[in-house]
């Protein structure tokens, strides 16, 4: 039944996760296999979304609509367009990899872990497919709890502090969004006589520019900016990323952060276009600060995981930069950069996790000369590092190039500063790579490190394939986004000019 495909993709993982929790007498091996199977089936189910996707249709596809709370105007309305398609696929793609990466790393309460990961997947997918503000907010909030458990139960030594910080930080941001959602709901209802949380309906609403729109924009933007994280709201990120188990970091960096940038694209721009324009320069500047600041802080990190965590601040700065250029290149670049960051940073976390499992250290200083010991690992690590720093021919270049092309049209100076972020990325990533992989073997303990296992190859190769694929033939991916981005820009322009 094609009508419910998107629902099936969204809810299958969560249903599988709940079943794993509720069925008694399970064994950990069974739980691992079952969870991986569920996530793989979910990925398989999500592929028709890509192949069946009509690239020339700017509207929502695979839509499902059912009334849920008629008196309130809440509906179960889901669908995807060019903006959310790639993020849905990224989620279904990364979750099985994350589960497979945790095969040996997680020994404690395995059933709970895999179930939580699956429930988290449903939460994330729900955020990307919801076309009803109430539904969206439910997924947005509900998703916090599984992540909280993943960091807090299966994380590192400081996991409790990191988990609580993560939840409180995100929650303070998102509760204000709830008030803004309600305000928007009643404002639209009062203006049109129809009370609804339906996103496509609400985006038709041309709101007068002014204080009300600005406040609503700020409430939404705060929730998203914390999630992205946009400088200066990033302080939860290093703690959460470093303390989370590898699989958690992969999902956190790969998918969760994108929920913030996605929120800006899906909600802030079309709902509050005037406010987005007037606050645009501020966001633009913060994004550039984030790019440079994240890169600088990464450079001096002694801990590889922390280095990767801070590099996310820098990379997500590029995404925000792209979004707030409000032009075709910038937006498409930002979207592709979201996917790129999910792949490269996800892979970086995976690989740092793999080396940590072998050596129980993530300090750059504890390594050196690994090329001779683990050539397979080193080769893949090189590809991933180069992709993350934006080498032409790999995926990172495509996104950053488009973003900068877009940014130059807005402000040459800020774009020039942002470009320095790419240079710094090369500095911190290559310097780290050099110290870890090249040179003499500095620690005896490193001599006996085993190279990648078949399971680890299986986890990494798909990511590397995609990294090269996007780098060589980006059209396969940018092509799905262009129509939707054009429509978004046209919508923002028509709504802002309607008020002039």
């Amino acid at each position: 039944m094609p009508g419910a495909l998107l629902s099936a993709v969204t809810f299958l993982p969560g249903a599988g996760g709940l079943a794993l929790l509720l069925i008694p007498g399970r064994r950990r091996g069974v739980a691992r296999v079952a969870a991986l199977a569920v996530s793989l089936v979910t990925f398989a189910l999500s592929l028709p979304l890509y192949f069946g996707f009509d690239r020339d249709n700017p509207g929502y596809q695979f839509e499902e609509y059912r009334m849920w709370m008629p008196t309130l105007g809440v509906s179960y309305h889901i669908g995807i367009d060019g903006i959310s398609l790639l993020l849905v696929l990224l989620t279904t793609f990364l979750t099985p990899l994350a589960l497979a990466s945790a095969w040996d790393g997680i020994e404690d309460r395995v059933e709970g872990f895999v179930a939580t990961m699956l429930i988290l997947e449903t939460g994330m997918l729900g955020v990307f497919v919801s076309l009803d503000l109430f539904l969206f907010y439910m997924f947005w909030e509900a998703m916090l709890i599984p992540m909280y458990f993943i960091i807090g139960v299966w994380g590192g030594p400081d996991r409790i502090y990191a988990a609580v910080k993560f939840v409180l930080y995100t929650m303070v941001g998102s509760v204000l969004m709830l008030v803004a959602i309600l305000a928007l709901y009643y404002q639209y209802g009062a203006a049109s006589g129809r009370y609804t949380f339906d996103l496509p309906t609400l985006t038709q609403f041309v709101m007068a520019p002014g204080l009300a729109q600005n406040l609503m924009f700020l409430a939404f933007a705060l929730a998203f900016a914390i999630k992205v994280p946009l400088f200066p709201f990033h302080t939860w990120l290093p703690d959460a990323h470093v303390e989370a188990p590898t699989a958690g970091s992969v999902i956190l960096a790969g998918v969760l952060l994108k929920m913030g940038t996605y929120g800006f694209l899906r909600f802030c721009l079309p709902l509050f276009p005037d406010a987005s324009l007037s606050f645009g320069p501020v966001v633009f500047a913060l994004a550039v600060i984030g790019i440079v600041y994240g890169a600088w802080v990464s450079t001096v990190q002694p801990d590889m995981k922390k280095l990767v965590a801070y590099s996310s601040v820098s990379h997500l700065g590029f995404v925000m930069l792209g979004i707030f250029t409000l032009n075709q290149q910038g937006l498409v670049g930002g979207l592709i950069q979201m996917v790129n960051h999910g792949l490269s940073t996800g892979a970086l976390f995976l690989m740092v996790g793999m080396i940590y499992e072998r050596r129980h250290s993530r300090l750059v200083a504890d390594f050196g000369g690994l090329w001779r010991v683990v050539p397979g690992f080193s080769a893949l690590f090189l590809v991933v590092v180069l992709s993350s720093l934006g080498l032409p021919g790999l995926n990172g270049f495509v996104g950053e190039f488009l973003v900068l092309v877009g940014a130059f049209q807005r402000s040459i100076w800020l774009a020039a500063v942002a470009t320095s972020g790419i240079i710094f990325a090369a500095v911190y990533l290559l310097w780290m790579y050099q110290r870890v992989i090249f040179g003499e073997i500095t620690h005896e303990a490193n001599r006996a490190l085993p190279d990648l296992t078949p399971r680890e190859w299986a986890v990494l190769v798909p990511v590397v394939v995609l990294i090269v694929w996007i780098g060589v033939y980006p059209g396969a991916f940018t092509g799905t986004t262009e129509t939707a981005v054009e429509a978004l820009i046209a919508q923002v322009q028509s709504k802002t000019s309607a008020n002039r």
């Binding site: 008196t71 439910m138 509900a142 909280y148 807090g152 303070v172 008030v179 709901y185």
Partner: protein, 485 residues
């Protein structure tokens, strides 16, 4: 020839749910006088049967309005909705008490009878159409609860709780009574409908205003809103946990019923200058409750402060007013009752070092030893935070929505920020249960069929109310709409 004294026709229909509860209470006491062989379970079963029957009668009367004793009793949808909340609260607490009493060695017939008497008082409060009945219901409920708070006779703390509750409660009752007297002085009647008529056009009569203020003080005490909340933490902490649950759920719901009816009916068409007062009360109540809860190390005391905070949220609905706002209170009470009764229910099951596990630290590592129980408690706490898709989220959503609709943005902002603060202390318990290893004496869980049933019902209810809230919220709004017309 003198006029014959005309008795009003006696219509007992509207009193039927209350009468059933009272009959069950009497039956429990009678059975206790019988031969010693009568099992303790039978008494509990009779009490429970009474509650189920009352619930069924309540449900069967849905949609009808019964008035009795010259409008002293008004059993309309509003009262019926509260009856449902109260019946569920009491039934859950009866189920939770069965094992709890036996284990603590305090199993006696008076307990069941007193719980039922308190419940009858609550139902009377919900259906009160007259200030005298308000007082009558309040006293029946309160006096029963005073005794119940001190029911663990061998425990000093329990006695202390009862005495504190009684002294402060009596003080509050006298405020209420004085307020009623002043309003009677101003209006010449105690019937809510007739007060509204009598006071129309002269609502600034000082007697009436002062009387109303005193009435609000009395209710403020019963719902434990700031600044009349001081008794709640002490009483909640030291009373038997099952009784704490009843005070936190049923008695709060009943007091809210009376408060809403008095404000809504009596002040119909009156300029709403009391909303400013309630606005401040709501903001203060939720903020004080949440902030002080952070510092608590006793779980029962923490839940006491949290329940104060929840009263603050519900007062938002009163400020917002209209069927939206007041309906949101009713729906919130429904969700809150199941959640709170469930949370206290878990506490009744946990023991550590031969004593009830009431310290937050007693729950350290609970997920290792009793994964199911820990998961259940975690779900109740998450619902109290307001995490979707559990009932607490939808309850808050309706309340804040009503506030935004009525234009009280800042109150809604204070409310949502408060729920973020609340996340901290609820999650602290989850942290202890899931993220730390157990240490010291083991916390044991005493499984029992009745408690398991109660927790299952409460859990199903918070999931159901969270996923398909619309029918219930619509019923709540429909129940208050005629009142506000």
């Amino acid at each position: 020839m003198m006029d014959a004294i005309v008795f009003p026709p006696v219509v007992l229909g509207p009193l039927l749910p209350t009468l059933i509860v009272l009959a069950a209470a009497a039956l429990v006491l009678l059975l206790d006088l019988g031969p010693r062989r009568i099992g303790r379970e039978l008494l509990a079963a009779v009490a429970l049967g009474g509650m189920v029957a009352a619930l069924l009668v309540t449900l069967s009367r849905w949609g009808t309005t019964g008035r009795a004793f010259r409008d002293m009793i008004v059993l309309d949808n509003f009262a019926l909705f509260f009856n449902v909340v109260i019946c569920y609260a009491t039934a859950l607490i009866l189920l939770l008490s069965m094992d709890y009493l036996r284990r603590s060695g305090n199993d006696s017939a008076e307990y069941w009878a007193l719980v039922l008497f308190a419940t009858a008082g609550m139902m009377l409060l919900a259906a009160a159409g007259d200030l005298v009945v308000v007082f009558l219901g309040l006293e029946l409920m309160s006096l029963s609860l005073y005794v119940l708070a001190g029911f663990f006779k061998r425990e000093l703390a329990s006695g202390e709780a009862a005495l504190k509750y009684f002294l402060l409660g009596a003080f509050a009752s006298s405020f209420l009574l004085y307020g009623i007297a002043l309003i009677y002085g101003a209006a010449g009647t105690t019937s809510l409908d007739r007060i509204a008529l009598a006071m129309a056009g002269r609502t600034n009569d000082p007697l009436f205003v002062i009387g109303l203020g005193l009435l609000l003080v009395g209710f403020g005490f019963k719902i434990s809103s700031v600044p009349f909340h001081m008794w709640a933490p002490d009483v909640y902490q030291a009373a038997p946990t099952s009784v704490t649950a009843l005070i936190a759920t049923g008695s709060k719901a009943a007091a809210f019923a009376a408060l809403i009816r008095v404000l809504a009916v009596q002040l119909r068409g009156v300029p709403a200058d009391w909303t400013a007062l309630v606005w401040v009360g709501a903001a203060a109540t939720m903020t004080v409750g949440n902030v002080v809860a952070i510092a608590q190390s006793n779980l029962k005391r923490m839940l006491a402060y949290s329940s104060i905070a929840h009263v603050g949220y519900m007062l938002i609905g009163l400020v917002a007013g209209g069927p939206d706002g007041v309906g949101a209170i009713l729906f919130y009470l429904l969700t809150y009752t199941f959640t709170t009764a469930g949370a206290f229910g878990v506490i009744t099951l946990c023991e550590r070092a031969r004593a009830e596990a009431v310290d937050v630290a007693d729950y350290t590592g609970l997920a290792r030893r009793h994964p199911t129980l820990a998961a259940v408690l975690a779900l109740f706490l998450l619902s109290l935070i307001g995490i979707p898709p559990l009932a607490g989220f939808v309850g808050k959503f309706y309340l804040f929505g009503a506030a935004v609709r009525a234009g009280y943005f800042w109150l809604a902002v204070i409310g949502v920020l408060n729920s973020a603060v609340a996340a901290y202390y609820y999650l602290r318990v989850v942290v202890l249960m899931y993220m730390r290893e157990p240490e010291g004496a083991a916390t044991s869980c005493v499984p029992s069929f009745a408690s398991g049933l109660a927790l299952t019902i409460a859990l199903l209810a918070i999931v159901l109310l969270g996923v398909i809230p619309a029918p219930f919220a619509d019923l709540a709004q429909a129940a208050v709409a005629p009142l506000l017309r």
